[in-house]
C-alpha cells in the first residue's frame, strides 16, 4: 500500500493549520469548509460542553454525598440532573466521535480530499453551536432551567413551568446538525472512496461511522417531530399526548425511544470503530475477523433500531410485545460480543505496546463488557421489573456511555492527537491521568449497581440511611475521576502549546491511510489521490516472524 502513496513535501505544502485560505485569523477557522478545521472546531465546542456537563454531574454527586440537603434544594437538583443529561447526551456523546474524529479522519481514511458536502458540514457545526447556545439560554432565562429529566416525559413536560420549549427546540436544532453530518458521511463513503478501496478494504472505523450515519439519518427525524409535537402541545394544547383530551402519553414514550434507543448506538458505534483502529496498531497484528467486525457494526445498527420498547416494559405493553422486544434486545448482544471477542483475539500473541491509546482501549473493552452484560440483564423481563428506574440503570448507562464511548473518545484523542496537531503529549502524565480516570470511574459508578440492586431509585434527591455508604464511595470516585479529566485535558492543552514537535508521518506504526500523509496533514490531505491495493491492518512481516519463532519452539 505504502508505495502507491504520493509523498507530499512538508516544506512546499503548508499543513492545514498554516494554510492561508480566503479568510485570515479566526475567520479562517469559523468560515473554513476544510473538514479538518471543522473537526477541530467541533473538538473545542464539544469538550467545552463536556466540562459544563461534568460540572453539573460533580455538583449533583456532591449533593448526594449525605442524605438530606447538602448544597442545593430539590428543584435545583432536578434541574441539575436534567441539564447534566441533556448536555452530555445531545451536546457531547451523540456528536462526539463522528463530529470530531469522523470529520477529521473519515475523508483521510478513505483517501478523499474532503467530505461530499463541505459547506453543509460547516452548516452542521453552526447548527450545533446554535443548539448549544439555545440550551444555555434556556438555563438562564426566567422560568428556570428544564427539570423534566433528559427524557422529557409527558405529562410532566407539558405541565411544568420551566423553560422546556426552548430546551426542546435546542435539541431539535441539534438533531438537524446530527442529520446533516450523517447525510454527509453516507454520501462521502459511497462517492469518494479512493480507487481500489472496495467496501471490504475500508478501515473498520469507516464501517462504524457509516452504520452510525445511517442511524443518524433514519432515526433522528422521529425525535425531531416528537419534540416539535411537545412544543406544539405546550403552546396550543392540541391534546395529541394529553389523556384529558383523549391523547396517549405512552405514545410519546414510544416515539421518544424509537429515536433515543438507536441514539445510544449512534453514541457507541463510532467508539467501537476507534477501538478497532487502535487494537491492531498496538498489538502489531492484523485485525482478527475483519469482516465480522465490519458487518457486526451494520447488524448493531439494524437490530439496535428495533429494540426501543425495552425502555417501557413497565409502562404497559402486551405480553407479545414484551416478549419480542426482550428477544431483540438480547440479539443485539451478539454483534457486540463478536466485536469484543475479535478485539481480544487480535491482542492474543500480539507484540503489545502499552501506550496511552491502548490503555484507554483496554479500559473500553473492560467497562463496555460490564455495561453490555448488565444491559442484557435489563432485557430479561422479570429482572427488569425489579431494577427499572433504579440507579442500576444509571450505572449500566454510564458504563456503556462513559466507560465505553467516553473512554473511546479519550482513546481517539490520544491516538490521533500527534497527527492532528503535530505535537506530542507527555506520555507519563497521560498514563497517570488514565489510571485516575479508570479508578475514579469504577469507584464512581460501580456502587450504583449495588445500591440500585438493593432498591435505590434513580433521580431521587434524598435516600434512606442504608444507602449512605454507597453514595459516599460514589462521590469520592467522582473527585478522582474529575482530577483525572483535568490532568488529561491539561496535559493535552499544554502539549498543543509547547509539546514536542512531531513531523514523523507514522507516530504509532499504523497501516491506515492517515499515517501516510503529512503530520499535520496538508490542506486537502493528498497531492494525488492514492490507489489502495490491500486491506487495512496488514502486519504480515510481524506475523511471519511470530510463526517462525513458534516453529522453532
Amino acid at each position: 500500500m505504502s508505495e502507491a502513496i504520493s509523498v507530499p513535501n512538508n516544506g512546499r505544502h503548508p499543513s492545514y493549520l498554516d494554510y492561508q485560505g480566503t479568510h485570515k485569523g479566526i475567520l479562517g477557522w469559523i468560515l473554513s469548509t476544510d473538514h479538518k478545521r471543522i473537526g477541530i472546531l467541533y473538538l473545542i465546542a464539544i469538550m467545552t460542553f463536556f466540562m459544563v456537563g461534568v460540572t453539573f454531574g460533580f455538583l449533583m454527586r456532591l449533593e448526594l454525598i449525605a442524605p438530606g440537603k447538602t448544597i442545593m434544594d430539590p428543584q435545583t437538583y432536578n434541574a441539575f440532573f436534567t441539564l447534566h443529561g441533556v448536555i452530555m447526551i445531545f451536546l457531547f456523546v451523540i456528536p462526539g466521535i463522528p463530529a470530531v474524529f469522523g470529520n477529521f479522519f473519515l475523508p483521510i481514511l478513505i483517501g478523499a480530499k474532503d467530505v461530499s458536502f463541505p459547506r453543509l458540514n460547516l452548516l452542521s457545526w453552526y447548527l450545533y453551536i446554535i443548539g448549544g447556545l439555545l440550551a444555555v439560554v434556556s438555563i438562564l432565562l426566567p422560568g428556570g432551567p428544564i427539570d423534566t429529566g433528559w427524557t422529557f416525559y409527558i405529562p410532566y413536560s407539558v405541565r411544568t413551568g420551566t423553560n422546556v420549549s426552548l430546551a426542546l427546540f435546542a435539541a431539535f436544532v441539534l438533531g438537524f446538525s446530527s442529520i446533516l453530518t450523517g447525510l454527509n458521511f453516507v454520501t462521502t463513503v459511497h462517492r469518494l472512496r479512493a480507487p481500489g478501496m472496495s467496501w471490504f478494504k475500508m478501515p473498520l472505523s469507516i464501517w462504524s461511522l457509516y452504520s452510525t450515519a445511517w442511524v443518524q439519518v433514519l432515526a433522528t427525524p422521529i425525535i425531531g417531530i416528537t419534540l416539535l409535537l411537545v412544543i406544539i402541545e405546550r403552546a396550543f394544547g392540541v391534546g395529541l399526548f394529553d389523556p384529558a383530551l383523549g391523547g396517549d402519553p405512552v405514545l410519546f414514550q414510544h416515539l421518544f425511544w424509537i429515536y433515543s434507543h438507536p441514539a445510544v448506538y449512534i453514541m457507541i458505534l463510532p467508539a467501537m470503530g476507534v477501538i478497532s483502529e487502535i487494537i491492531p496498531v498496538f498489538a502489531r497484528r492484523t485485525i482478527f475477523g475483519y469482516k465480522f467486525i465490519a458487518l457486526s457494526s451494520v447488524a448493531i445498527a439494524v437490530f439496535g433500531s428495533l429494540v426501543w420498547a425495552h425502555h417501557m416494559f413497565t409502562a404497559g405493553m402486551s405480553n407479545t410485545g414484551q416478549f419480542i422486544f426482550s428477544l431483540l434486545t438480547m440479539i443485539v448482544a451478539i454483534p457486540s460480543a463478536i466485536k469484543v471477542f475479535n478485539w481480544t483475539a487480535t491482542l492474543y500473541k500480539g507484540s503489545i505496546e502499552l501506550a496511552t491509546p491502548l490503555l484507554f482501549a483496554l479500559a473500553f473493552i473492560f467497562q463496555f463488557t460490564i455495561g453490555g452484560l448488565t444491559g442484557v440483564m435489563q432485557g430479561v423481563l422479570s429482572v427488569d421489573i425489579m431494577i427499572h428506574d433504579t440507579s442500576f440503570i444509571v450505572a449500566h448507562f454510564h458504563y456503556v456511555m462513559f466507560g465505553g464511548t467516553g473512554f473511546g473518545l479519550f482513546a481517539a484523542l490520544h491516538y490521533w492527537f500527534p497527527k492532528m496537531f503535530g505535537k506530542m503529549y507527555n506520555e507519563k502524565i497521560s498514563k497517570s491521568a488514565f489510571w485516575l480516570l479508570f479508578v475514579g470511574f469504577n469507584i464512581l459508578y460501580f456502587p450504583m449497581f449495588i445500591m440500585g440492586w438493593l432498591g435505590m431509585p434513580r433521580r431521587y434527591y434524598d435516600y434512606l440511611p442504608e444507602f449512605e455508604i454507597y453514595h459516599f464511595i460514589s462521590t469520592i470516585g467522582s473527585w478522582i475521576l474529575i482530577t483525572g479529566i483535568l490532568l488529561m485535558l491539561g496535559n493535552l492543552i499544554s502539549a498543543k502549546i509547547r509539546g514536542k514537535k512531531v513531523t514523523d508521518k507514522n507516530t504509532w506504526g499504523g497501516e491506515t491511510l492517515e499515517w501516510h500523509v503529512d503530520t499535520p496533514p496538508i490542506h486537502e490531505n493528498f497531492i494525488d489521490i492514492p490507489t489502495v491495493h490491500e486491506t487495512p491492518y496488514q502486519y504480515k512481516q510481524n506475523e511471519d516472524e511470530t510463526l517462525k519463532t513458534q516453529e522453532v519452539k
Binding site: 461530499s116 453516507v186 454520501t187 433514519l218 427525524p221 422521529i222 391534546g239 383523549g246 391523547g247 416515539l255
Partner: protein, 207 residues
C-alpha cells in the same frame, strides 16, 4: 475542452450523483419526520374510528380536491422546467418555475380560507367548541392542524427554494450542463406533493 478548462475542472469538485444521493437521503428524513405523525394518526384512528368518521365529514372535499389538483399540476410544471433547461430553453424553464410558485401560492391561499372557515366556526386547538366535542374529534382536528400546518410550512419552504432556483437559472448558474440544483429542488417539491397525496385521503376522503 481546452487544457485550461481541464485544470479548472480538476480543482472544482463536482459530483452530480453524490448531490442527488444527498438529496434523496434528506427526503428519507422528511418522510420519517411525517412518518411519526402518520403513526399517531393511524393509532388514534384505530382508537376512535367513529369520532374520526364524524369529524372528517366537516372537511370540505371539494376544496381538498381542488388543492390536490393544484399541487399535482405544480409538480408537472416543475418537471417541465427541468426538461426545458435540459433542452437549453432558459426562458421557458424560468416561466415554468414561476408557474410552479404561483400554483403553490394558490394552494396556500386556499389553505388560508379553509383554516379561516374552521376558525370562524370555532374549531381550533383549545377552543370551547372543540373542547366540547368527544376526545376522538379533538384529536382528529389536532392532527389536521398539525399535519396540514407542517405540510404548509414545507410548501412555503418550497416556494422560497424554487424562487432561488429561478434566480440561479436567470443568472445562468443553473444551465443545460449543470442543473442538479434544479433537480434537487424538484425532488423536494415532489416530496411536498406526495405527502399531500397521503394527507388528502386520510383527512378528506375516508369518512
Amino acid at each position: 475542452m481546452s487544457s485550461q478548462e481541464q485544470t479548472a475542472a480538476a480543482h472544482v469538485h463536482r459530483d452530480d450523483v453524490g448531490a442527488r444521493m444527498g438529496m434523496w437521503l434528506f427526503l428519507f428524513t422528511e418522510l420519517i419526520l411525517f412518518g411519526g405523525m402518520f403513526i399517531l394518526y393511524s393509532i388514534y384512528r384505530y382508537m376512535y374510528p367513529d369520532a374520526f368518521h364524524l369529524a372528517a365529514k366537516e372537511l370540505n372535499t371539494i376544496v381538498g380536491t381542488f388543492n390536490t389538483a393544484i399541487l399535482l399540476t405544480s409538480s408537472l410544471t416543475m418537471v417541465l422546467a427541468i426538461t426545458a433547461i435540459q433542452r437549453k430553453q432558459k426562458a421557458l424553464s424560468i416561466f415554468f418555475q414561476v408557474i410552479t410558485i404561483v400554483l403553490a401560492l394558490g394552494f396556500m391561499v386556499n389553505k388560508y380560507f379553509e383554516w379561516g372557515a374552521k376558525f370562524h366556526h370555532g374549531i381550533y386547538p383549545g377552543s370551547d367548541t372543540l373542547l366540547a366535542k368527544p376526545a376522538g374529534e379533538i384529536l382528529f382536528f389536532g392532527l389536521y392542524y398539525v399535519m396540514t400546518g407542517l405540510h404548509g410550512l414545507h410548501v412555503i419552504i418550497g416556494v422560497v427554494l424554487i424562487g432561488i432556483m429561478a434566480g440561479y437559472t436567470s443568472k445562468g448558474i443553473i444551465n443545460s450542463n449543470s442543473y442538479v440544483k434544479l433537480e434537487s429542488a424538484g425532488l423536494y417539491w415532489h416530496l411536498v406533493d406526495i405527502i399531500w397525496i397521503f394527507l388528502f385521503p386520510l383527512f378528506y376522503l375516508i369518512t
